[in-house]
């Protein structure tokens, strides 16, 4: 494939045709701030935070997320003028944003907060009308508070472009524009699949997950990368752990089969891990009742009864049913137990169900 070379902040960058300036810069390790960008979505160019200067361009400022890198382009990403524009944009956004980072669910995981921090915006120069929408809690999973919305359209776009469902669109226009469901119907009365993709892409606290609310700030949780426990897609997920409990799940962007996308089960189906129904001790049936027992007792009983059956009826009087939900290693050991220890090929699992 042909390569193109361009100059970004004085560095010569080689990239493949079709890449945007943003992507080319990222390849060269140059970070350009963004707000409406999500690599899963088509470029949108609405927030104007990623504007860069391109030499020889009419107005001079182009959105890095939506502009293809071109041969011999000379790009600057961090000039005084650009910083000024970015600061103004952040100030404008904050002029219509509740200043409640203290209690906002997304504090620490908020792209607007990060931008305000990076550009040192404490208090916006501009004051004026602010939105006062009621927070919408019309289902047990997704809460929407459009006072925190920056109109990046990521929820609208991910639901349409990636999920192909299109629960949301913008309503109205200009200052009155707001994303939402048609006729403000509750999500439960739309085709919503509760995948939480809108939550995952929302750069602020406008759309948050209800089950994880108040359970832990981003810096208070440890993220453990693992594979989803549900269907066979094998999506990679990050379990958010705080105080020994899973408090949330997210999907690492552009990693694994899901590439950062997830479904309702993968994203919200973690509650069973800490459910009070979990078995916490071996149980042994005594006088018809299952009663708690020690491991020693339970394991001894299992080994004895298997050994007895083998001795009396032969190894094929024992059968093993493995699990499509246990790990490879466990299943390997399980069939090894059947074959090598007990001596039977009576081992199967629920693959067919």
């Amino acid at each position: 494939m042909k390569h193109i070379s361009l100059t970004i902040d004085g560095i010569e960058v080689i990239t493949t045709p079709g890449r945007t300036i943003l992507e080319a810069a990222a390849e060269a390790g140059i970070r350009i701030p963004t707000l409406c960008y999500d690599p899963r979505l088509e470029p949108y160019g609405s927030c104007r935070v990623c504007l860069v200067e391109v030499e020889g361009q009419g107005r001079g400022f182009l959105p890095a997320c939506a502009t293809p890198a071109d041969e011999d382009m000379v790009v600057r990403t961090d000039t005084e003028k650009l910083r000024g524009i970015r600061r103004t944009i952040i100030e404008l956004l904050l002029s219509d944003h509740p200043n409640d980072c203290m209690t906002c669910e997304s504090a620490g995981n908020c792209e607007l907060q990060d931008l305000a921090y990076e550009y040192g915006v404490r208090k916006p120069r501009f004051q004026g009308e602010q939105h006062h929408h009621e927070a919408i809690v019309d289902n047990p999973i997704i809460e929407r508070d459009y006072n925190k919305c920056v109109l990046c359209g990521r929820c609208v776009r991910i639901c349409r472009e990636v999920q192909g469902v299109g629960v949301y669109d913008f309503a109205n226009r200009g200052f009155e524009a707001v994303p939402g469901t048609p006729y403000n119907r509750p999500l439960t009365e739309t085709p919503c699949e509760f995948c939480g993709q809108c939550v995952s892409t929302c750069p602020t606290g406008a759309i948050v997950s209800i089950p994880s609310k108040g359970k832990g700030r981003s810096w208070q949780v440890r993220k453990v990368r693992t594979t989803c426990a549900y269907c066979g897609c094998g999506c990679q997920i990050d379990l958010h752990v705080r105080d020994g409990r899973i408090v949330d799940v997210s999907s690492p962007l552009m990693v694994g089969p899901g590439e950062g996308n997830h479904c309702a089960k993968g994203r919200y189906g973690y509650g069973f891990v800490h459910h009070s129904d979990r078995l916490t001790t071996p149980l042994v049936r005594k006088e018809g009742e299952l009663v708690p027992a020690t491991w020693e007792e339970a394991l001894g009983l299992v080994a004895d009864r298997i050994s007895k059956a083998v001795k009396e009826q032969g190894p094929d009087s024992v059968a093993f049913l493995a699990s499509a939900r246990c790990t490879n290693e466990e299943n390997y050991l399980f069939q090894k137990l059947a074959r090598a220890v007990v001596g039977t090929n009576n081992v199967d699992h629920c693959a067919r169900l």
């Binding site: 349409r160 469902v165 299109g166 629960v167 949301y168 669109d169 913008f170 309503a171 109205n172 226009r173 469901t181 048609p182 006729y183 739309t190 085709p191």
Partner: protein, 176 residues
């Protein structure tokens, strides 16, 4: 496409009757991107874009309802609520503005006791302001049920409304 753009005909079909909708959908079937025209026709037939009608339309055309709603709320021509028997649209273009159309609008507001975008309680008048009707030479201008009235003044506005009230046999909601 309808050749008559005029919306003087104000007898609307109730939204329960889906047969005109079916006709409209049939006429535009296979025409790419014709949604805005479809909306215009629905509005002309039903008077506004009723939620139930839009739901049916989404099903018939295979669109997400959200898309239709987003579209309908983007364009100022579309109404999501029923309008009155008479539609008064006052131009707020630049020419009308510099010729003090604001005072004409004030008179209409006063007389009808509603603000632009609203309909009188008895569903008789709907008042709207529009950006520019493109008849700037006769500014200030307004359109009542498709008929243009130029060089408007507050008193001409009042006379016009009084005449409409009288002809329609409606009790005036405004004073004097």
């Amino acid at each position: 496409m309808e050749k008559e753009g005029c919306s003087c005909n104000r007898s609307f079909v109730p939204p329960e009757d889906l047969s005109p909708l079916e006709d409209i959908v049939e006429r535009y079937r296979g025409e790419r991107g014709a949604l805005i025209s479809v909306f215009h026709e629905i509005q002309q037939t039903y008077g506004y874009l009723d939620e139930g009608i839009m739901g049916e339309l989404a099903k018939k055309l295979g669109y997400q309802l959200s898309h239709l709603y987003g579209l309908a709320t983007f364009y100022t021509q579309f109404r999501l609520k029923p309008i009155g028997k008479h539609l008064i649209r006052i131009c707020h273009g630049t020419a009308c503005h510099v010729r003090n159309v604001r005072e004409v609008t004030e008179e209409a507001k006063r007389f009808l006791n509603i603000v632009p975008g609203e309909t009188t309680e008895d569903m008789y008048f709907t008042l709207e302001t529009v950006n520019c009707l493109g008849t700037c030479a006769i500014a200030p201008v307004l359109v009542v049920d498709g008929v243009y009235h130029g060089h408007m003044t507050p008193s001409k506005m009042k006379k016009l409304l009084e005449k409409m009230v009288k002809e329609g046999g409606r009790e005036a909601s405004g004073q004097d």
